[in-house]
Amino acid sequence: MTMPIDPDLMRDPDQNKRRDLTIAAAAIVVCVVLPFVFPNRYLIGQGVTLFLWVAVVSQWNLVFGVGGIFSLAQLAIFAVGGYSAAMLALYLNVSLWFGMFLGGLVATGFSLIVGLACLRLSGAYVALLTLALATALQVLIITDTTCFMRQGVTCMTFTGGSRGLSRFGDFGFTAMLGRANAPLGNYFLAFAVALAAMLFAYLVIYSPIGLAFRAIRDNKLYSIGRGISSVRFQLLIFGASAFFTGMAGAVFAGHYRAIGANILDTSLLLFLLSMMVIGGLGRFWGPLAGTTALLLFDEAMKELGEWRLAGLGAILLLSVIFMPNGIVGLFRSRPAAR
């Protein structure tokens, strides 16, 4: 797969900054105001989903789009963060607030191991290995049947097995804000995580580190020849992209008050991958645009019942054919030749 050259990199940086700041300010205002204009629980819940997937896809975009490493481990990293926070809360009574950061750290450690395992691989082989790791993680959870703790007449396995983990608490917004406003707490927490993840992605993409990632992606041998350590930067990108992904996993667990092995389903993985591709691979605004667009499509397709998946597939197909550079690519004029 050849990554398109981001026209932003060939444009005046100040112009880019002004444009990005304007878009960011508008997006933030919309996200903050929306739940008060439409105080609908379902919409607020969908907002939480949107923010969590934006956080995950923006970090995945760093590895996949910016770094050019075809890793499919992002949902496994997300699950590790979510499971870590849930298990710490369930077994050690660790607050989910604290567990959220610990989940991010555990996810970072896990991602570094994945990065190490992929060091000698490239292209499709990275995809195969990371997909195998994610699948193995799911199978390990599902086949965990050894009784770890008794809950009434049922046996609780360490990971929750195929049933998943639940009743480990939440972020306590019901006590803080009252039952009616509790969803707003989850909404703004997920928003904060997504915002932090996007800000982090922005800093990485437009920093020298981001340039190094792109250099390795576009010409590995040449970049090594110019003194860029591919090992160091590959590990850095795996580690850096995992923290907010793990945190998002923890917020997911706290919001739904449950987490199960189905989070590692390939169908969800492909759905998130589609968000990244449709938004614009390697582009900063791609994850936000792609996630928003696909969730809106998915919402519209719900009226079709069992035909939803077919409708979604058709939209994906048309998007790839008519928008090869993603949604963000539609709004970018070609830079003048220099």
Binding site: N40, R41, Y42, L43, G45, Q46, T49, V139, I142, T143, D144, T145, C147, Q151, G152, V153, T154, C155, T157, G161, S162, R163, G164, L165, S166, R167, R179, F252, Y256, R257, A258, I259, G260, N262, I263, D265, S267, K302, G305, E306, R308, L309
Partner: protein, 419 residues
């Protein structure tokens, strides 16, 4: 077909036609994903019940409409938004589901906050702990069937009754348990293991197999090395179970073979062929083979085709009828936020007994979960029958061999044991 309960609803409606404002009812069912085949049956059953209820005047003259949301692969992230959407977008007064297994009761808070009625068939013992732990908050949440836990104790009761009847004389008192890795299978396997000694049985083997599985050789070798009186396979996937029978019957042990859920699906008989004959299985939730049940089964197949599965659809069909009747008796339905009216309906659901196509629905209090007969009550009019069935001719439907008075044919010694 809706017979007595239908007549009762028509009576409460006092001849009114269903012409008033529509009452929205929700159903969060898996229309896509691994359980989509069952989800389609849940949808069909809800539509069938809706039409019958409306033909009888709806609920106090108001017709009902059912809105469906896809719960996909049944994770918490699928189920909770589906429930919330039904409440917010369609303003549903009740949610009547088949099963959704992945949320582990996490969706209960969404329902409790809205204060509506929710009847599901998740067959999950965790429901007892959650609702029983806070009956006030979860006043409107009911599990329309008994928990999976009862499969364990129910099997032991069945075996002892069979032994006592003289129809079967076991060689020993050993049970070999083979479970899959899914929690449903493990809960049942553990329930058998825990209660076995109390019922006079020893567990000679407890084997967990990684599923899906088609190569049963190592497990069969252990069974043949120490033949038990009963082989209880609590894994449920029909093609895996059919493979077990294909590999077991060429060199069988003198053991009864009991399997969980899978043999009720046509895929089991299609793959196992004549090796399916003699296999026992049970269900705590399916339409009966009696007059009422068969009338439903026939009407369902007439409407949706010979390949449709009324056994699966029955749970939603019964619960929607039950809800409509209780709402009518309580003076009408209540939407989200109308706690007082929904409390009245919940009171009726708790206090009354309903005879549907699956038998009797009556709830444990305060857990609000179906009571199984004969596992938890000796009176067939007071609990939902835990049906034991046996494939006696693989070209036909299985025969219901217990409990009385629902039996359609007596137990028959499996062919591998008779020979």
């Amino acid at each position: 077909m809706a017979a007595a309960s239908g007549a009762l609803l028509a009576g409460v409606n006092a001849g009114r036609a269903a012409e008033g404002e529509v009452i929205p009812i929700g159903a969060g069912v898996p229309l896509t994903g691994w359980a989509a085949a069952d989800g389609i049956e849940f949808k069909r059953a809800a539509e069938m019940a809706r039409d019958e209820i409306n033909a009888m005047g709806g609920i106090l003259g108001r017709p009902i409409e059912v809105f469906f949301e896809d719960t996909k692969n049944q994770g918490a992230d699928n189920i909770i938004p589906a429930m919330q959407r039904l409440i917010d977008r369609h303003n549903v007064h009740a949610i009547i589901n088949g099963y959704n297994t992945g949320a582990v009761c996490a969706e209960y808070d969404t329902i409790a906050d809205a204060g509506i009625i929710y009847i599901h068939h998740n067959t999950d013992i965790v429901h007892h702990q959650v609702v029983g732990g806070d009956p006030e908050r979860y006043f409107g949440i009911f599990m329309g069937d008994p928990a999976e836990y009862w499969y364990g104790e129910g099997l032991l009761t069945f075996l002892n009754n069979l032994k006592a009847s003289g129809d079967w004389a076991p060689d020993n008192n050993k049970i070999a348990i083979i479970t899959g890795s899914q929690n449903y299978s493990v809960v049942i396997a553990d329930a058998i293991r825990e209660k076995a000694a109390e019922y006079g049985w020893d567990i000679s083997l407890y084997e967990t197999v990684v599923v899906p599985i088609s190569e049963w050789g190592p497990t069969l070798a252990k069974l043949r090395a120490d033949p038990p009186a009963v082989i209880a396979v609590t894994h449920w996937v029909p093609q895996d179970l059919a493979q077990f029978m294909l590999q077991f019957t060429p060199n069988p042990t003198n053991s009864l073979v009991y399997m969980q859920y899978g043999p009720s699906l046509s895929a089991f008989r299609e793959i196992a062929g004549e090796n399916a004959n003699g296999v026992l299985y049970s269900t705590v939730i399916a339409s009966l083979r009696d007059e009422k049940g068969e009338a439903f089964n026939t009407a369902y197949r007439d409407r949706f085709g010979a390949d449709s599965s009324p056994l699966t659809g029955a749970q939603v069909y019964d619960s929607l009828h039950y809800y409509a009747l209780m709402a009518a008796i309580a003076g009408g339905t209540g939407g989200p936020g109308e706690f007082e009216q929904n409390q009245k309906i919940a009171d009726r659901l708790r206090s009354m007994i309903y005879r549907g196509v699956m038998g009797t629905t009556r709830f444990f209090i305060p857990e609000q979960a179906g009571i199984p007969y004969p596992d938890a009550t000796n009176d067939p009019s007071m609990g939902m029958p835990h049906q034991f069935l046996q494939h006696q001719d693989y070209t036909k439907e299985a025969e219901l061999i217990a409990p009385d008075p629902y039996v359609s044919a007596p137990f028959k010694m499996p062919p591998w044991m008779a020979s």
